[in-house]
Every structure is written in structure tokens, then in C-alpha cells.
Symmetry: C2
Subunit: 121 residues, 2 copies
């Protein structure tokens, strides 16, 4: 029940769902998610931590960068089931079209450029 509630709570905030879906195209560095969402680093860090603790997202540290990707085979059965459902339920969601556009921009930039942008704000 607790694992289930951790998952549903993680999925019950729009910002977190957008962050989760931003990983559909593959792994992203935290600074890329920050740029994508346009929120304060501390806020995004906390969101990603929540997604991770729910098991929906895996993290990988490489130097100073924290990379996140969607949960895979290493994650719990419950988290993978939730992820499968969420991705299916939100497939083609119209209200997320803008996000996809912004995201492809973020993905094209190098990490340095993204970081510079986040530094400037």
C-alpha cells in the first residue's frame, strides 16, 4: 500500500508528470529538466527525488551531473506497472505538445549551453 501511495502521490502533480514524460526520449541531466520546466533548481531536484523514491525513475551520477531515466528492469514490479499504465494513459496527450517542442530544443543543446542558460536565470 505504501509503495502504491508513493507512486500515486508522485503522479498526482502536473509538474512531476511532465518531468517524468520528458524522459520518454531517453535520459536527461537534471539541468536539462530544470531548463525544460523553467523552475528553480531546488524545486526540480526535489521533484526528481520524489519520482526516484517512488521507483518511477532511475538516477545515475556522472561527475557533477545527475542523469535520470525512466524505470527499467531494475525497478520494482509495481513501479514498472505504474509506468506502463501512465505512459499508455498519456500517450498523445494534446496538452503536452508544447512540452515536446521545448524538449527537443533542450535535447539538441549541449549540456554546457543548457547550464549557461540555467545560470543566467
Amino acid at each position: 500500500m505504501n509503495a502504491f501511495l508513493d507512486i500515486t502521490k508522485a503522479l498526482s502533480d502536473e509538474t512531476r508528470v511532465r518531468a517524468l514524460l520528458s524522459l520518454r526520449g531517453g535520459e536527461l541531466c537534471l539541468c536539462q529538466v530544470i531548463e525544460f520546466l523553467g523552475l528553480a533548481p531546488s524545486t526540480v531536484s526535489k521533484h526528481m527525488d520524489l519520482l526516484h523514491r517512488a521507483g518511477l525513475v532511475e538516477r545515475r551520477k556522472e561527475g557533477r551531473w545527475q542523469y535520470f531515466r525512466l524505470a527499467g528492469k531494475e525497478s520494482s514490479r509495481e513501479a514498472r506497472g505504474a509506468l506502463r499504465w501512465a505512459l499508455e494513459a498519456l500517450r498523445g496527450e494534446r496538452s503536452l505538445k508544447d512540452d515536446e517542442r521545448v524538449l527537443s530544443g533542450v535535447r539538441k543543446k549541449g549540456l554546457e549551453e543548457v547550464s549557461a542558460c540555467y545560470r543566467a536565470s
Copy 2:
């Protein structure tokens, strides 16, 4: 996205999840859910309304009684998918064993007896 968030928010509260699962054995009157949860009628009414608005539950009014049952074919594709996932994820959940016991007691009682009990509290 809004429909999705309505569903995840509905599922992100333990009490609501317990109420939802209490309908697995078939339709229940609100007063039975009240007795099952042991909460104030106004509180339970609001919880069931939220579940209904998320599409996870259908309601039926018969005289003074409000009956609730799990979403069926009349509900949205999204709600049915969510329900399928939630039921599967929580199948056999150990922490809900007590609930099942209490629930079978509530189901055995007639509606009048349940109401009397709820009146007394």
C-alpha cells in the same frame, strides 16, 4: 492530462483507496462505506464524490440511498485503465487484510442495522 491528474489525485489518499477497494465485492451504500471506514459522513461523502468525479466509481441513487460500484463499461477508457492497474497493483495487499474482515461484517448486516450503528456514533 486533467483526467489523468483527477485519477492520480483520487488514488493518492489511503482512505480513498480503501474505499475504492471496498467495492471490489460489489456495490455498497454510502452508509456502509461510512461504517467500514469509521469516519464522519461528510468526509466519506466527499471522498466518494472525488472517486466518482475521477470516473473510478459509478453512483446510483435509490430512494434515500446512494449506491456506489466500481467503474464499468460506461466509464471512460482512462478511468477503466486506471482501475485495472490499481486493482492489479493492490491485489493481495497484506495491509488490507483487516479491511476485508471488517468489510464482510458490514456486508452481512442489513442496511438498517448499519444505519443504526452510524446513527449511534
